[in-house]
Amino acid sequence: MSHRRIQKEDHYTFDRSTIDYIQRAAATGLYEIRGLGAKRKVAHFDDLVFLAGSITRYPLEGYREKCATKTVLGTRYAKKPIELDIPITIAGMSFGSLSANVKEALGRAATECGTSTTTGDGGMTPEERQSSKTLVYQCLPSRYGFNPDDVRKANAIEVVIGQGAKPGGGGMLLGQKVNKRVAGMRTLPEGVDQRSACRHPDWTGPDDLTIKIKELREITDWEVPIYAKVGATRTFHDVKLCVHAGADVVVVDGMQGGTAATQTVFIEHIGIPTLAAVRLAVDALEDMNMKGKVQLIVSGGIRTGADAAKALAMGADAVSVGQGILFALGCNNETYLQRGEHHSAVADYETLGTAPGYCHHCHTGLCPVGITTQDEVLEQRLTPETGAKHVKNYLKTMNMELTTIARACGKSDVHHLEREDLVALTVEAAAMARVPLAGTRWIPGHSG
């Protein structure tokens, strides 16, 4: 019997996903829009490891000795800086992209963990304000739902200049997610795509931003901190300009940061990795002698307590988590919990043309587990109570991991973690983070 050999030679330039992309483009004439963040492999915090205590450093007992996590943000000008129990905050995600149940769950979990949550585009919901002890109110280019009453209710205001998933790009909430309530908050008809502009309507450039920040301070009687958030691109200069413009806190969001709906080409090809951005941001603060005076929050692919520890060691004051929170809520789970019973969501993933573990269809509003939806039936798949419990557990776990690492490095305060505690596993990470390659003294581009 003859055997016919099937040739299966991989093509690295036109691999299967590239062929799929080309054929999809050819069939539809449209670029893909999707949710979540960059999927490509980039240098990240996984490429760093800690040098814990041994003989040269003295570790703290992991389960016994105290390790402080208190975090204060907005000490530069605000009369009432933000005081958090942990340095892990919840990133801005809009009501509209997320259901009202989820927004309430985030507020509850954040309050129970002593941290802050953030509004996102589309305004502040009463449920969110009520459930959140510390709520950061975003001032975005769209200004959807932005109003002075909510400005005065906020504990901090975040002027969003860009987002890691799409720096330089606006947003899009597709019409299928725009129900009566979302439409009302955004002053647009139901079912219409809501484009979020890429530029603010009333200021352009750093000098204008200085005046805008001052206006917000005047409106709030200089009481609450003003954050400025940038997507990571020319981070060194952007952070300097935010500091120059008078921000109390700068938020830097790397390219792994998530989105509810953005073009894939944007998500994967614009912006720099969080690891590179955090170092540039800290460089900028140090260059201006503003480290410790202006606080730095880092976001974009923060998943674990180890990621948080590494960001803090690199010089961040806090981290912000978005997609990790969605996964904690059950994003991409095979089942959802309703009335005490697990129900399969697999068929609903299939309807979207995907499967659990691969879904990024936040933009459709048909989230099989009830997170990124405004559908009356689907949103019942996640109650605020269940969501809050899972997010609380996740944040608690991350914080325990963070303090475990800090203690191992001999720190009684997580904010004492430092760059000297880190080495890199790859040349790329060593170059970006500017810490030595493990087992060497070599920092590419800086030593040797």
Binding site: A27, R143, N147, R152, W203, K214, E218, I219
Partner: protein, 227 residues
């Protein structure tokens, strides 16, 4: 009437006075002298008070205004009455860029010209401009009315949603999705009321209606059609 001299009073004290003392003491009228182009004059006011600013203002005068009736007896800098919720802001002179940006309600009257992006992202505010408006006016305007008694620049009404523009003069070009539509009786009634509010004597019949063609309202992300 209270008179505040910005040459002697810090801006922060002025705004805090307008936020707290005006409400507490139920002050009905405030006059601000020597504004000297300062930014953020009378921002975040939320009280039924009449405020007269005697001179030119910088950025964001009357920003986020609620209830107050604020008159600028001069020219206004960028973002006058930005994000206004209610009340009236009247600029007796010219207005710079982004006048009435993202305004949710109330009325903004500009006797002279308004520069670029007048009414950008407006969300329910009514804006009446006695003169001309610059390029990209009513860009992504969601709701409300922009009345232009003079001419308009390029890209008027680009990416309009539900806001309506009434233009008396010429337009250099329309923006994406903006188009001229026939004036209805309801348009004429609304326009007459706005012109009256602004103290202008033009006839509604002299104006054109510009609104969204709504072709950009929905982007088909999941289309699987062949071409």
């Amino acid at each position: 009437m209270e008179r505040i001299d910005l040459a002697k009073t810090p801006l922060r004290d002025l705004n805090q006075f307008l936020h707290h003392e005006v409400r507490k003491k139920k002050i009905k009228q405030v006059e601000i002298i020597n504004p000297d182009g300062a930014h953020s004059i009378a921002v975040g006011v939320d009280a039924p008070v009449k405020i007269d600013v005697r001179g030119h203002t910088g950025y964001y005068c009357a920003g986020m205004n609620k209830q107050a009736e604020i008159t600028v007896h001069g020219n206004a800098g960028p973002g006058v009455a930005e994000n206004m919720m209610s009340g009236v802001v009247h600029v007796k002179g010219f207005a710079s860029v982004s006048a009435g940006a993202s305004g949710h309600g109330g009325t903004l009257i500009i006797d002279g010209d308004a520069s670029l992006r007048c009414g950008i992202s407006m969300k329910g505010i009514d804006i009446v401009v006695g003169g001309n408006v610059g390029n990209f006016s009513a860009f992504m305007a969601q709701a409300g009315t922009l009345v232009v008694c003079g001419d308009a620049g390029d890209h008027l009404g680009d990416s309009l949603y539900e806001a309506v523009i009434y233009l008396r003069g010429k337009v250099k070009s329309f923006g994406a999705d903006a188009r001229e539509e026939p004036m209805t009786k309801a348009d004429e009634k609304k326009l007459a009321e706005l012109l009256d509010r602004a103290g202008l004597k033009y006839k509604p019949k002299e104006f054109k209606r510009i609104a969204s063609a709504k072709t950009l309202y929905n982007w088909n992300a999941d289309a699987d059609q062949e071409y």
